[in-house]
Subunit: 324 residues, 2 copies
């Protein structure tokens, strides 16, 4: 398989992206990596299963997607173009998600039956990982869109997490069917009558511990939920740091429990989970977290390989043929 990597995208590009790409190349010698970006970002020697594709422009993280058409020589455009031209089987980027999404829609096109592509995340969970979506840019959604997200999330759960008949839930402000805003109440009815294995509503507190496989929400609500949870985790970790260094004795206790704390941190760390494919476009485009370090890039390459080997796009295309 051939994977195009946007080495210019991300908060820690190109250094960490290159480091991750080189380690991935060593880990999967049977696959070929195409490094897309500026020549000066390359190391002196490239491994045998890596090649370089030049792209001199850069789409900045916060740059308006309206500039895209003037940026056809950007790393994200060129990496996507390689997939379109069948010179690569997948691409991955930690750059601007909006630009990655827009480029994929423009160059690869939408899968029939998909109104708007979505971003599904494989989130940490207890007892098991789960798919949550849309964590992307769809701030205004219709019930029909949430049903499409549910179907796409189901395929993602099957392919990446090997769940046989994924249980799908909606994120709401209460478990009962009458809870929610207008969008959620209408979506509840639609999902209950659909082909999806719908198990009802989940609440914010269930995000990482609820008993479901796929959690569906609009992009605005999902952003609020995920960032509120992330904020709470960061706050507690910082409070723990303050408290555990408050005295010499505490430092000793903290030293003893440190491996336990590190394990918790690792379990909650998105770097371990890598990126997730953009859902709804005709090609594999893996969206990585903007602050991805090398480890996240390696795991994202692994995700791309899994998606390719499982014929992800065919399954997705098939799933979206269902009439509603």
């Amino acid at each position: 398989m051939r994977i195009a990597i946007d080495i210019m995208g991300g908060d820690h590009a190109p250094g960490e992206i290159m480091a991750g790409a080189l380690q991935a190349a060593a880990k999967w010698p049977e696959h070929h990596l195409i490094l897309v970006g500026r020549e000066e970002a390359l190391p002196v020697f490239l491994p045998a299963n890596c090649s370089f594709h030049r792209a001199d422009q850069i789409m900045a993280m916060d740059e308006s997607v309206e500039n895209l058409r003037q940026k056809k020589d950007s790393s994200i455009w060129q990496a996507t173009q390689l997939v379109k031209d069948n010179q690569a089987d997948a691409l991955l980027s930690a750059g601007s998600t909006a630009a990655q999404m827009a480029t994929a829609v423009l160059l690869l096109g939408r899968i029939p039956g998909v109104s708007r592509p979505a971003i599904g995340s494989v989130a940490p969970g207890f007892p098991a990982e789960r798919v949550i979506l849309d964590i992307g840019a769809n701030t205004e959604c219709t019930p029909q869109m949430l049903l499409q997200f549910a179907r796409m999330g189901r395929v993602l759960s099957q392919v990446l997490l090997k769940r046989e008949n994924p249980r799908v839930a909606l994120l709401s402000n209460g478990e009962e069917a009458h809870k929610g805003n207008e969008l959620i109440r209408a979506s509840y009815t639609l999902l209950a009558e659909s082909d999806v294995n719908f198990i009802g509503n989940m609440e914010g507190r269930d995000l990482f511990s609820g008993d479901f496989d796929v959690l569906v929400f609009d992009g605005f609500t999902g952003n609020i939920a995920v960032k509120s949870a992330e904020g709470a985790v960061a706050l507690i970790m910082s409070l723990i740091k303050d408290e555990f260094t408050a005295s010499f004795l505490r430092k000793l206790g903290a030293f003893i429990v440190k491996p336990g704390l590190k394990k918790i941190k690792d379990q909650l760390d998105y770097q371990e989970h890598g990126g997730a494919p953009l859902l709804g476009v005709k090609g594999i485009s893996i969206v990585c977290h903007g602050s991805s370090h090398a480890r996240a890039i390696i795991n994202s390459v692994g995700k791309a390989i899994t998606c390719m080997e499982a014929n992800f796009i065919s399954h997705l295309t098939e799933a979206m043929k269902v009439k509603t």
Copy 2:
């Protein structure tokens, strides 16, 4: 001052509510508490500054507010009636929030300029406590309603947290003015042009650590944000418990750092913060958390006293006279 306490409302009623009421009576001998509920919930002797008002019906936590008119002898109805009849200066309840809100609107009426009452919470925060609203039942909001919430939250921040010129923010999926769903984008414009000291958008991760005094959101989004954060906190605490008891040595380390962990838990505990007044009705009705224990009730009585002494309702009425 006379404070009516619904002793039948809440997950731990009547035991914990009574325990809290009796301790509050001892703490504030200069105030009078009216215990509203069933006679069998009372202790054998009542302190001198407590009296009993009988109410034999109960509104269950999940009971539809449509039943309210058949429940005029319920503890929440009777407690609110006491305020309406000027036999009490304030009431507090840990029972069904929807019933408390509906009773307040029916019996006390709305303050002019308020479309829908809201519930503001005094939330833990670092470095300082903050007001967040609406954590109530208003799942569908208009920009005009969010502006009203902002004005009411400002008064709450001034009265309970002594902030002079509270800085008001909107909860959105990004800091920039163009971020948000339709509601938030329209509200951004409205707040920016209003009398409110509007400082822009905050994200979910800023809930407890952002630099603002009042954070405004619709009830649906607020529920998702708060419960996602609470869920993350509960998850980490449970992971810590597992990890810190994984071996004898770890247990020793955990024993040493335990006071630090307890301090963090207390800082994040809503029991410390007590209830908050229902915003927008003509009377002081303090909404307590459903799972309030005695400590939360004592703190809520304290909040009621602060509100009465600060002429909260007059300030609120004045604040809502502003033309928009």
